[in-house]
Symmetry: C2
Subunit: 265 residues, 2 copies
């Protein structure tokens, strides 16, 4: 039996300054390392970097010129039904496995990566590629192809450069069924448990904890979102020190409720 993961007594989150607007082919790990140096942070074992998925999307060139998207008949029908843009609906359908709900301008879908979100996470702000031709667009930006693998690659690059094991969380913002406002969620995770299973630990009275499986990586994403800012501030990466976890393999897939267990599927 291994020791339980302990909670941190103190957590420090720092938005990494000076990360430029990323374009296709940029080396995100190198940009993060430069930003850490700029912030005078020496990466330590057990530190975590939260990186906005948008940065990876841009580095992967996931820009789509909506003006060049040809909607399928199904996309046209759905778009008419929700009073939405048929070209965007076409992209949403290509990125997703199933439609969960529809509302004015929104399709809530199960993304091919497994999670449920509005419009398959396709973004229309900050979605223009560098050097976009005049008259092109409007532009949309798809989510990164494989956020878990991106997180693993960044973690490996950090280890190679700094000699320490850090955690990496690729983040996005999701809306929620019952609550207003978006919150940070983890789309990719490397080096820390996405879910922290505390079942089996005892409460203050010595009783077993009930329902104590914490969405650790989602809470990291939410905390990072508090400091990152998504737009004007332009700080898409956050350094987190003081989180206590047992390093190891992980995947944001662990955070996805299987459709068969989803009361709201």
């Amino acid at each position: 039996m291994t020791a339980p993961i302990r909670c941190a007594a103190r957590l420090e989150l720092t938005a990494l300054p000076g990360i430029p607007v990323v374009g296709p082919g940029d080396d995100v790990a190198a940009l993060l390392l430069a930003a850490l140096e700029r912030a005078r942070i020496q990466l330590g074992a057990g530190d975590v970097l939260a990186v906005a998925s948008k940065v990876l999307s841009r580095a992967e060139g996931r820009f789509v010129d909506l003006g060049r998207v040809e909607p399928s008949p199904r996309a046209r029908t759905l778009a008419a039904e929700i009073d939405g843009d048929a070209r965007l609906v076409e992209l949403v359908l290509r990125e997703s496995e199933a439609i969960s709900r529809r509302a004015r301008g929104v399709l809530v879908v199960r993304h091919r990566l497994g999670f449920v979100s509005a419009n398959a996470g396709i973004d229309r702000s900050n979605a223009e590629p560098p050097g976009a031709a005049a008259g092109s667009g409007p532009w949309a930006l798809l989510l990164p192809r494989a956020p878990d693998e991106s997180a693993q690659r960044i973690r490996a690059a950090l280890r190679a450069a700094c000699g320490v094991d850090a955690g990496v969380v690729v983040t996005d913002s999701h809306g929620r069924p019952f609550r207003l406002g978006t919150v940070g969620v983890a789309l990719g995770v490397a080096g820390l448990p996405a879910l922290w299973d505390r079942r089996g630990e005892l409460d203050l009275m010595g009783r077993q904890l009930l329902h104590a499986e914490t969405a650790l990586a989602d809470q990291v994403a939410a905390a990072a979102d508090l400091v990152a800012g998504q737009a004007a501030e332009g700080t898409p990466a956050v350094h987190i020190r003081g989180l206590w976890f047992r390093p190891g393999d992980s995947s944001a897939r662990a955070l996805i409720r299987p459709p068969g267990e989803d009361l709201y599927a």
Copy 2:
């Protein structure tokens, strides 16, 4: 036009040590002030305290001896249907306005406070009152009566003692429809905006941000949960410094999606 709320560049969260197991009638604000002093933290303007709802529940004496609960016929029928404890189902019905979904051992309900959660947030860990008689119980702990008002009272007490305006968030942990693991959410909010409405701000390219209403207080609760620990560590309060917000009146009600706008109601 007022200046937009800026994002913090650095956030520090500290779990406040040494808060005792709370009992009926305890003065939560006084316990928080003592814990701040113990942690050698001088409360500053714009600091935020996240306080677990369980502490308020215990101070309000919201303990219920399930052995003395008489289930109604409706509770008995529902309990048989979900294979649950009829006494607990009775409490859930008393605490809630409507049933959203039912599953084995769980009723997902709209709480009379407005939010949707499993079993009306009734807790069975750390649920025993101080000095419970031998043979009593099992015990359950209801949520605090009015978390927004509790947050306001704590905020007023902090102002009286320290002379500064701080924010207060009363937190709980909720499960989610599409995702596994619990995350911190705000049940009560005072002194900071529960929702941070960023619509109208511009993105990096000068386009208006879409869908940029952030659940600020929920993200504070999630970040606090990363450091608080729910049980063995016994640190039900977290001090947060570095969050940038415009002080003012608020309410956790702002985070509740009106049932008519809820695609999953």
